[in-house]
């Protein structure tokens, strides 16, 4: 089940992206949060770019699939794991 993949400590998440860096979503490790993220288009395999950070470091903006921008908190971004 993609929504409940086992978290590994070495895996990077969207939270670890540098500004302007792009990654590919591998899985979402929080089942409840995942439902919202999936609806908003954060599907495993989608490419996301960290496009902005609020002045105080949180929340961040994420450009999804080159199409639209989401705004989310760092704690929420931490549940979106990236492919190596």
């Amino acid at each position: 089940m993609p929504a409940t993949a086992a978290p590994t400590t070495t895996r990077r998440s969207v939270k670890d992206l540098r500004l302007g860096e792009t990654g590919t979503i591998c899985c979402l490790n929080d089942a409840e949060m995942a439902l919202k993220l999936l609806e908003m288009g954060c599907i495993p395999g989608t490419r996301v770019t960290l496009s902005g950070r609020a002045p105080l470091g949180c929340p961040i903006t994420l450009h999804v699939d080159g199409e639209y921008t989401l705004s989310l908190r760092v704690s929420e971004a931490a549940t979106i794991m990236l492919k190596d």
Binding site: A31, A54, L70, E76
Partner: protein
């Protein structure tokens, strides 16, 4: 592939389309789509000024309905549903949609739905579309924002998309009205259900789905699946029905969360596949950079906050200075009308009309310019996409105080009116954040306080410029708003430490691209809000004005006659002129009227705050609604004062204390202002809090807390400044 010509004309393909409805038939149409997909623009284009705002049964979600003339013979009732990303509701707002669409027996059940989708963001917008299609609802897809898609180099083969989706598609640009006529023509026809399905429930779910279909007599597998997912949350199901669904879920080991996640993933896969033949992106690098460039400034760590503060400052200057001109006109117009009526003759009816009804109406009409300006600002900020940036800038700061970036919009709306502001907290998913926001929103200075502020500030603060440009009264007004804001934030922080619910709060939301606001949308928002103020608040205000006039004109037993005699004796002793005698009689009469008795009975309680019995009456009537204060003051003084003084301010300025000094000293005015900043004096707000929190705990706490705060702080203000 992409052909620009295709975009222009509507196609009806793969549908059994039959024209010709009986004349005068009313079709019920629901409008549904993602947030930011141009749904409101389309609704405004279709209905214009024929809109009504009500409530959905049992909940306070705004229910916008309107009627549209589709063809000369065919009118349709259109209901605008809240924006949503899917049919699995994540908020109270979105729940309204499932309650409406899943209950085929409902009287409101639509004949068909119009789905709006943002063409520049088609993949995500089609998720909701495919869910609706699988419910086999007759529908048409309004493919909106074709111009934006084109600018982004996205070309859509509409004919092919229509074939793939199995419903009529109208390419359009709702903001500019392009495609609306074509859409109306399709909407006037009888639409069939979509010819395509997009998701099949898995094999092992079928036995359960069959049972649900049989039990509830449903025509559709996907609808039955949603009953299984959402049975507990569908308002129209009975307790027995819910128990039955719970039993089935247990029996078939139904894992709702995992199934939902898998469904969404499967749908996206299907959508990506079908879009391969439909969408072609010609320019690889799209001009999303305009928005990004703007964001670099508007969400900058220094400029971002400075710009936000400047916008707020501009807002207050606008409300205070620009609105003054139309307000003066309205004020003078009402005074003139009252004078004309008085010239008609004498008698209780004439008095009731001029001092009761017309004075009360004046109190309502006078504040239309300010309310219109405020909502114009809020509408422009929302429409342009800037409000999402404010949320983004403020989230971390707000969280420190137990609030949420999403609390900023309710707090800012609270400056217009706490009632819609409290309703708008429904976008906050976390219960604790939401309760805290609801609790502190009424501390934000709402437009109903503007009248009180305006009158009192102008009374004691000189109309001067500071630093050459800023109006001093405007600066003081902003100070009052800041006082409200600071107290809201500090109260939130206090509540955060008291409420210990450990629960997660979600923030994720779409960051819309910047857009020029459509003035038509802004205009319709203004009309809607002003109408709500005039007809809802206005009714209360006029009613209370009339009640007050009665209370001020009649007294217990023969008290008034005795007061008249006393006054005449006193006047004769002092050898007053007939005019002075009349004033003295009026003032004696008011003192002995029901209103006077009432005011005097609570005077001891408010005397330490610097208020007399006249102010007491205004405080009491303000508990129905704050804006009544000014109407009350004008009624009280117009009954007891010289009729030539037409404006409220002049009346207040002329008021003398027992030593013959002006009654409204800076200390008294400041104390009264502080009282109005903090006191919970709004029955509508309490009622809204009750509905939104489903109980009396929070409204009662709000009332006690805010009134207590108001009393203590007013007391301190008066005693320190006296």
């Amino acid at each position: 592939m992409a052909r620009a010509a295709v975009i222009e004309k509507p196609q009806t393909l793969g549908q059994e389309v039959t024209t010709g409805n009986a004349t005068g038939r009313h079709t019920r149409i629901a409008l549904i789509g993602n947030p930011n997909s141009g749904k409101s623009s389309l609704f405004n284009q279709l209905t214009g000024l024929n809109q009504k705002v009500g409530n959905f049964p049992g909940v306070t979600v705004d229910r916008k309905t309107g009627s549209a003339q589709l063809t000369p013979q065919h009118r349709a009732d259109i209901i605008d549903l809240p924006g949503t990303y899917s049919l699995y509701p994540k908020s109270l707002d979105e729940k309204v949609i499932t309650d409406l669409l899943y209950d085929q027996a409902a009287s409101e059940y639509p004949d068909f739905v119009v789905v709006t989708a943002d063409a520049s963001n088609l993949k995500r917008n089609l998720l909701l579309f495919t869910q609706l299609a699988d419910l086999q609802l007759p529908m048409v897809l309004a493919l909106n924002m074709m111009d934006t898609a084109e600018q982004h180099g996205i070309q859509i083969d509409v004919e092919e998309l229509q074939r793939q989706l199995g419903v009529p598609i109208i390419p359009m640009n709702a903001r500019k009205g392009v495609g609306v006529t074509a859409l109306k023509i399709v909407m006037a026809q009888e639409l069939g259900p979509p010819t395509q399905t997009f998701y099949e429930p898995t094999e092992e779910l079928l036995p359960m789905i069959r049972q649900i279909r049989y039990y509830f007599n449903l025509h559709n597998d996907y609808l039955a699946l949603h009953y299984a997912h959402q049975g507990d949350r569908l308002r129209f199901l009975s307790a027995d029905d819910r128990a039955y669904l719970a039993e089935l879920r247990e029996k078939y080991h139904f894992d709702s969360i995992a199934l939902q996640a898998q469904e969404t993933i499967d749908r996206y896969a299907r959508i990506s596949e079908l879009l391969l033949d439909v969408v072609r992106v010609t320019r690889a690098e799209r001009n999303e950079s305009t928005s990004n460039k703007l964001d670099r400034v508007l969400t900058h760590k220094v400029w971002g906050y400075l710009i936000f503060l400047s916008i707020l400052f501009l807002l207050f200057q606008a409300i205070f200075s620009w609105a003054a001109y139309p307000m003066d006109l309205i004020d003078q117009g009402v005074a003139w009308l009252g004078g004309q009526v008085k010239n008609l003759g004498k008698g209780p009816l004439i008095d009731l009309l001029s001092d009761g009804i017309i004075a009360g109406l004046g109190g309502v009409l006078m504040f239309i310019p300010q309310i219109a300006l405020l909502f114009a600002f809020i509408a422009v900020l929302e429409e342009s996409g800037y409000m999402a940036r404010v949320t983004f800038l403020m989230d971390k700061i707000m969280r420190k105080f137990g609030l949420n970036g999403k609390s900023v919009v309710p707090l800012i709306s609270g400056m217009a009116c706490a009632v819609p502001a409290i309703m708008s907290t429904r976008t906050i998913e976390s219960w604790k954040d939401r309760i805290i926001t609801i609790f502190v929103v009424p501390l934000m200075s709402c437009s109903a306080r503007i009248p009180v502020y305006t009158v009192l500030v102008a009374l004691v603060v000189p109309d001067e410029k500071v630093l050459g440009i800023f109006n001093l009264q405007g600066v003081v007004l902003m100070g009052l708003y800041l006082l409200g804001f600071v107290s809201a934030v500090l109260s939130a922080w206090a509540l955060k430490t008291l409420l210990r619910a450990k629960e997660r709060s979600f923030f994720i939301m779409e960051f819309p691209v910047y857009r020029w606001p459509r003035w038509k949308n802004v205009g319709l928002t203004i009309v809607e809000k002003v109408k709500a103020f005039v007809f809802q608040a206005g009714k209360v205000i006029v009613a209370i004005s009339v009640l007050l006039w009665v209370l001020a004109s009649y007294g217990p037993g023969t008290a008034l006659d005795r007061a008249t005699q006393q006054a005449q004796t006193e006047a004769a002793r002092q050898q007053l002129t007939p005019e002075q005698t009349e004033n003295l009689v009026a003032s004696y009469k008011l003192e002995n009227s029901y209103a006077g008795v009432f005011g005097r009975s609570i005077e001891p309680v408010v005397r330490p705050l610097g208020f007399d019995w006249k102010v007491s009456i205004a405080l009491l009537t303000s508990f129905a609604a704050r804006e009544v204060f000014v109407g009350t003051m004008s009624t009280i003084y117009s009954v007891g004062q010289d009729a030539d003084m037409s404006t409220v301010q002049d009346k207040l300025r002329a008021e003398k204390d027992e030593h013959g000094q002006p009654f409204f000293t800076p200390a008294r005015a400041a104390s009264l202002l502080v009282f109005y900043v903090f006191a919970m004096q709004c029955v509508s707000t309490l009622a809204t809090t009750y509905r939104e929190t489903k109980g009396w705990t929070w409204p009662v706490l709000q009332l006690v807390y805010m009134s207590g705060l108001a009393y203590v702080l007013s007391l301190l203000t008066y005693q320190l400044l006296k």
